[in-house]
């Protein structure tokens, strides 16, 4: 199993995680994915990449470096994103019942290994 797929497996094993993807931050393309049926990986990748880019610009505008972790919470679930090196971003989609703390730790650890 490739390091990318191993990272996705670990993240998707967290309770409440509906799927995870490794995407390219600059063009929003899917590098690898592990998603539940019915989730459009290309849409997730494009939207997550765009959001992370926006937030990165805001952070840089405030004199900070790019984010290490992003959590967008909706009233029916969340998008988690962990930007790594080499333009890659590990993204996860979760339901309301997800263990977000564990998902965050797994994602940070996984993206650290990919670096």
């Amino acid at each position: 199993m490739s390091p990318a797929n191993a990272a996705l497996v670990r993240v998707t094993q967290v309770p409440g995680v509906r799927g995870s993807l490794l995407i390219s931050a600059t063009d929003g393309l899917v590098v690898a994915e592990r998603l539940m049926d019915g989730i459009d990986g290309r849409a997730v990748a494009a939207l997550a990449a765009s959001l992370v880019q926006r937030l990165s610009r805001a952070a840089i505008g405030a004199g900070m470096r790019i984010p290490t972790f992003v959590h967008l919470r909706g009233n029916e679930g969340s998008v988690l994103a962990a930007p790594g090196q080499n333009d890659l971003v590990l993204v996860a989609l979760t339901g309301l019942d997800a263990n977000l703390g564990l998902a965050r730790l797994e994602m940070l650890d996984a993206v650290g290994r990919l670096n």
Binding site: R54, V70, S78
Partner: protein
């Protein structure tokens, strides 16, 4: 139990609606019986929610208990009832100073001095603050993170254990409504960040809607220098709260929620 406390307790028991709770609460506070003082003050406030003295008493008790955010809120309430209340201005000034926002601290103390120019304690505090501000400025290395950021209008939470913090309220067009954001190397970056935040809000709305996650509620962002928390106090505004990374994100979320409530109230007053 000392005689004065016993007497005041009896007086309050005889006449629960009397203002004796103010003296009793203060007497208990001075004796270090903070839990009892808190209960007395809370009881009094339930009868007199618009009594600035009661909010002031509660603020002092909460401050002694180490709940500086609670003390801040109580003094804000005291000022809402009585905008000329110098003790509340002094208290808030002190909390801002502890939180590292010398400019906001000085502003509140100056307002207190304008109201009561004969209060020597205020004058002395302003002088000490100027000295401390100069010392901080000379000790602070340029170009590192976000040294001091705070709102002037939206009431900020003063947790007391943070020196790096910020609050920025932005409208739907990316224009700053309130707050300041400074970066050591870049100076005031509030307008620049505000411009980006309008896009962030739209992006977040689009993302949650298209991915079936409902309406966006919050965005928590971790960066090496600070943690950021975004939420929308109203459909047309975005509030950014920044704290140092040592503050847990969940707690930052609570602080941001409180700031959003204050922002909503403030926006309501502007209409």
């Amino acid at each position: 139990m000392s005689d004065d406390i016993r007497g005041l307790t009896a007086r309050l028991a005889e006449e629960p609606s009397s203002l004796a709770f103010l003296e009793l609460g203060e007497a208990l506070r001075r004796r270090g019986q903070l839990e009892a003082a808190y209960k007395v003050a809370r009881g009094g406030l339930s009868r007199y929610p618009d009594l600035a003295d009661a909010h002031d008493l509660l603020a002092h008790i909460l401050g002694d208990q180490g709940d500086l955010a609670g003390a801040f809120d109580a003094w804000v309430e005291a000022l809402r009832v009585d905008p000329m209340r110098t003790s509340a201005l002094k208290g808030i000034g002190f909390l801002y100073f502890r939180a590292g926002d010398v400019a906001a601290a000085r502003e509140h103390l100056q307002r207190a001095a304008d109201i009561d120019p004969d209060d020597a304690a205020i004058t002395q505090a302003l002088a000490r603050m100027s000295e401390a501000g100069r010392a901080r400025a000379s000790a602070s290395p340029a170009g590192q993170g976000i040294p001091v950021v705070a709102p002037q209008e939206a009431a900020a939470e003063a947790s007391g254990d943070n020196t790096e913090h910020g609050l920025l309220l932005v409208d739907g067009n990316g224009l700053r409504l309130s707050g300041h954001l400074r970066s050591g190397s870049l100076g005031d970056v509030g307008d620049r960040v505000a411009a980006e935040l309008a896009g962030v809000s739209k992006e977040a709305s689009r993302t949650t809607r298209l991915l079936g996650l409902g309406t966006w509620q919050t965005i928590a962002v971790e960066s090496p220098e600070a943690n950021l928390f975004l939420l929308a106090p109203t459909p047309d505004t975005v509030l950014l709260t920044i704290r140092e990374t040592s503050l847990p994100m969940a707690r930052l979320g609570l602080i941001a929620e409180r700031a959003a409530r204050d922002a909503r109230a403030w926006l309501g007053h502007q209409e």
